[in-house]
Symmetry: C2
Subunit: 337 residues, 2 copies
């Protein structure tokens, strides 16, 4: 699919979804829309991802485009009216428009009418499908081994760690798939359940459903975790994914230097506590064991210090660890597979 990524005023530092698509998806990105960086290129800001020109508006994108992806999420998840001409232009060209906003494009009558008129589609990835239900507790019956990333907090790099593990496994020739639980993962993979948006009774069920759907077609499933088991607001999501996935193996993700819950006045417990909690809460449902660690060292200035931090993290956890971006996910793959 040929896509344009809307990332006005937020590229690249606050455009997590756009960056994830540039880095991991199979889509060809033909342009990034960011009126603040008009005329630059993706490669001026990000390395190791596909390059694309940055333009101000959708109307400046001359190549054929299959989809426009809203690649940013403003606080509150609302729709910024200054984006309306871009979405309108995409729909008039018959494009699909894919959005992870809380504001559903499908509920916007202008967009719905334009999509109908020009044969385009609207996909609100945060809208769960209608047939979700409660878990049956059977995710462990699939053939695949299930590996779940868990974390010490939100935004420590679970999605990235999961993607890097997947790619490392595939690079070794393993049959492996990604189970997407959040909007970026869903947009990259083109399917998935937005677990933070499902009814709380169906949290585990929505994960189990995905495991059952893919679990007999692959040897390994890498499940994207969310939040943390001691997060004051989002622990329900974490626990539902832990039990719904019935994971065989857990990979604990952390960001170097993070000491408090992001945005909250709450200290993170020590790493042993995390390992204990994830394993002991999982235990009555599934034998899930922390087998590797992923440390996000993006704020560590040099590789040598980062390597030391990773080694200390591995020692604290008692398992092998790496930074999958700065170093390589392959370093821990033997422990994970």
């Amino acid at each position: 699919m040929r896509v344009a990524l809307l990332a006005h005023e937020k590229f690249p530092d606050r455009s997590k979804t756009a960056n994830g698509i540039l880095r991991y998806s199979d889509h060809e990105v033909v342009a990034v829309l960011d009126r603040e960086n008009d005329g630059a290129n993706v490669s001026d800001f990000l390395s190791d991802v596909q390059d694309a020109p940055i333009v101000s508006t959708m109307s400046e994108v001359e190549e054929p485009v299959d989809a426009l992806v809203v690649g940013i999420a403003p606080i509150g998840g609302g729709f910024d009216e200054t984006w309306r001409p871009d979405v309108r232009n995409a729909l008039e060209r018959g494009c699909e428009v894919i959005s992870g906003l809380h504001y559903f494009l499908e509920d916007d009558s202008e967009f719905r009418n334009l999509a109908e008129e020009h044969g385009g589609e609207l996909w609100d990835v945060r809208r769960p499908h209608e047939d979700l239900g409660v878990a049956d507790g059977v995710a462990d019956q699939v053939d695949a081994e299930v590996i779940l990333t868990v974390g010490t907090d939100c935004s420590v790099g679970k999605m990235t760690a999961t993607m890097e593990l997947l790619e490392a496994a595939q690079a070794r020739g393993e049959s492996a798939a990604f189970i997407p639980t959040g909007q970026t993962g869903i947009m990259i993979e083109g399917w998935g359940n937005p677990i933070d948006r499902v009814v709380s009774d169906f949290t585990a069920g929505a994960v189990e459903e995905m495991i059952l759907e893919r679990g007999n077609d692959y040897d390994y499933l890498f499940v994207e975790g969310q939040a943390s088991i001691v997060h004051p607001a989002y622990s329900a999501v974490t626990t539902g994914i832990l039990h719904g996935s019935m994971a065989d193996k857990l990979v604990l993700c952390h960001e170097e230097g993070r000491e408090t819950v992001h945005g909250y006045d709450q200290d993170l417990p020590d790493l042993d506590t995390y390992v204990d909690l994830f394993e002991s809460v999982a235990a009555p449902v599934a034998d899930s064991e922390v087998v590797a660690g992923m440390l996000n060292t993006r704020d560590v200035p040099d590789d040598e210090t980062a390597r030391e931090a990773v080694e200390e993290y591995a020692e604290d956890l008692g398992v092998s660890a790496t930074d999958p971006i700065r170093f390589d996910a392959d370093e821990v793959l033997d422990a994970v597979l």
Copy 2:
């Protein structure tokens, strides 16, 4: 409020909501609708609750009625079309109709029109309100001490235990309120958030919201817990309530003889494990301690055996325990307050 309770073919063994209202609410129950027990009285089946005649249809209820409550929940939560004449009759009399079904009465155009025409109202208690949000992690800032019932499984008696604790505290002259998290509690209290129906991201937030709303008007808040922290399908709900309430004290509820998760092929862990899990998962967010136990002995034939079971339960937990229905919640109140 004067209410009629719809409980066709399910009274009293499968009418948990109707029974809860008969036992705990301030409403005056003028009739129970159950065409299988037409002509009998509530007191023929249940003791220790208000009495009311049982009739076949709403049209047979001659007294003035303020509300018709759908007091049963069929598997799947659908609306049974044989109930339509009862709901229609209630609405034509200008009554409110209160329902905890998954099927929302407000989405039924006949009911909506009748309510509008006759000035009645429809209250679907399982529909969460629109303004829910994420928790701020501040429930511990209220004046009240927060006591949460937790359980080893679903349907072990958490709602009942919570109500009995509330009444025992009030009987001692304490200033105490109930925080309803499920449909029966919401119907009894006339307000509350149906936690199992909220978006998973808002699970903790929906509990916190209620604590903040009542927490400075009372000395004690008794929060109704849901499911269990190791439930394969519903643990997300449990964990969200645990963290959202930031409870000071926990009361562990269990049913005598329950050894596996109801409806699942999963053994319950031992009681020590439950105490450990609830306390250790809570700890990074709040100092929550298991201070008492509630044992449901409804399937134990005699009081002596039940007393022995309660004593063993107390010993296993290392705290005082009771069966709040067969014996008295007051027995553990000193440990709870």
